[in-house]
Amino acid sequence: MRGTDTLDALTAAIEHGRRDEAVALMRAAVAAGEPPRKMLDALAAGMADVGRRFSNEQAFIPEVLTAARAMKRSMAVLEPVLVDAGIRPEFTAVIGTVQGDLHDIGKNLVAMMWKGSNYAVVDLGTNVSPETFIEAAGDYGADVIGLSSLMTTTLPAMQRTVRALRCAGLKARIIVGGAPVTSSFARRIGADGYAKDAAAVVRETRRLMPAG
């Protein structure tokens, strides 16, 4: 198999969540000395493809999760090669579910999509206070902060968190999302971006940070 064929097959294996096949193809690509950046792009392309299908309701949470699993296992093979080549994550993202809210599946999907796009992700979990967001964003030098809320009752906490992050003077862009969140609410509370689902968050991140 030619190098481009291997990488195309890797992209397809990621997109369709064929974990063992993806790992085997990644090993083959590494053994063949494929350029690390191209291998990384092949992984990201697979996640982007499943993300597009997710946004179009052609793929659903099971397909996204199996793709993310395949990506994670393949990335484990690739990571030492990336380190040797000096390739670092494109952005650092800090993510969490806002204070008072214990939901996590939406946040986890966003974290997976970011990781699949070569972002370093710091997942703060659920019920995260504004102070914890500020501290983590500063400690890790976050480029982007993702805030999730699943309940109407915790939307005020999202607003408080955005306000606190602004007051702290952090440079990171803030993207919000979750079931009760709308683009107009995002604008109203002063967030930089809004993502209607986990796939949209990658597009929104690129829109906010096109030079990245």
Binding site: D101, T126, P180
Partner: protein, 368 residues
């Protein structure tokens, strides 16, 4: 405004009203029911509500009365408190799930871990435990509750948790989703086993002599943009168990109400194929809209809810009136519509707003 002045006059009993709604026969007003977050009731008590959620339902004129709740767990009665702090309590529950609850407020608990994390563990521990568990419902209590509901003229129902929700409760969202894609026979087996247990429990209530009017089946199959799994996957893995539950209900002359949040627009045809009689609560922010559904499905599927809690929570009374007027008009055109909020009423809604809502439901919900 006193509580008493808001209670609506009735010309039919609640039971008659709901039965006529299901039959698409003329009735006096739309049937009504609602649910509330605990903090909402606390707020309202501070704003003048003299009573609790039951009193609010009486003021609303609720037509529905639950007689039993059925959520069988493999390790029922073996809850273990693992840790308690000032805000939360961590418990290993009867599904083997490690879960953190808020101590002083309602809201969905956080799932910290799931012991049933493999097909092997399901077959070795959880399935045998589930199948060996005794009755997890109290038939004499259900019978007594039914008598009480009948005395009040209410439409009596048993409530149960459906197999997708049961599977997620035991295995977690992520493993459930991955297993649906990678080991579908496992998920189908779990769904079949839980459904059989639910039916065994419900049968015991019937054997006690109760004869409720409906089965209200709870499960959240969707989030705000789509269903958790594809319609095809739903059809293959979960739908057969939904159809079993519907067939059980219909065999006992009961109607089948299905509760799910989220955007379920893509699977409504499958719900109809399974024989569902009613959908509730029709979450507005998930693009579910009775004005679109009623013309298309209203003759075959009763629509229950859809009044947007976000609009309620704005406390904008003009917007609330427009919300109720428009949706009631669409739903009532089919004679197959009942009032419910599109989720649970949140504490952003003031007591004054909810009292106004009751007036609006009464004003716009009359068929005269």
């Amino acid at each position: 405004m006193s509580n008493a002045t808001l209670t609506c006059e009735a010309t039919l009993t609640g039971r008659q009203r709901v039965q006529r709604m299901f039959a698409r026969q003329d009735h006096d007003r739309v049937p009504r029911h609602d649910t509330f977050w605990g903090e909402t009731i606390e707020r309202w008590q501070g704003e003048g509500l003299n009573g609790d959620a039951r009193h609010v339902l009486e003021m609303l004129g609720s037509d529905f009365h639950q007689i039993a709740w059925c959520w069988p767990a493999p390790l029922a009665g073996r809850d273990q408190v693992i840790e308690v702090d000032a805000q939360t309590r961590i418990v290993r529950d009867g599904h083997g799930k490690l879960v953190r609850y808020w101590r002083d407020r309602s809201g969905t608990p956080e799932h910290l871990g799931f012991d049933c994390d493999s097909r092997e563990k399901w077959q070795r521990i959880y399935k045998p435990a589930l199948l060996d568990s005794g009755l997890q419902i109290n038939p004499p209590a259900a019978r007594r509750a039914e008598r009480l509901g009948r005395e009040k003229g209410k439409w009596c129902y048993m409530a149960c948790v459906e197999p997708f929700e049961q599977t997620r409760a035991m295995m977690g969202d992520e493993l459930t989703a991955i297993a649906m894609a990678e080991d579908p026979e496992w998920v189908a087996d779990v769904a079949e086993a839980f459904t059989s247990e639910v039916m065994r429990n419900l049968d015991a209530v019937i054997a006690e002599g109760a004869w409720p009017d409906g089965l209200w089946c709870y499960g959240d199959m969707a989030y705000n943009h789509a269903t958790f799994c594809s319609p095809k996957m739903y059809r293959e893995l979960i739908w057969p168990q939904h159809r079993r539950l519907v067939q059980w209900a219909h065999a006992h002359d009961m109607k089948f109400i299905y509760h799910t949040d989220g955007n379920i627009n893509a699977v409504i045809d499958l719900y109809l194929e399974a024989g569902f009689d009613c959908l509730q609560p029709l979450e507005a922010k998930a693009d579910v809209d009775v004005r679109k559904l009623a013309p298309r499905y209203g003759d075959r599927l009763a629509l229950f809810g859809n009044i947007d809690v976000m609009v309620m929570g704005s406390n904008d009374l003009e917007a609330l009136e427009a919300e109720i007027a428009g949706k009631f008009q669409a739903g009532m055109a089919t004679r197959g519509y009942a009032y419910h909020s599109d989720h649970s009423v949140p504490p952003t809604v003031s007591w004054a707003t909810y009292q106004r809502l009751i007036e609006l439901v009464d004003a716009y919900g009359r068929y005269d």
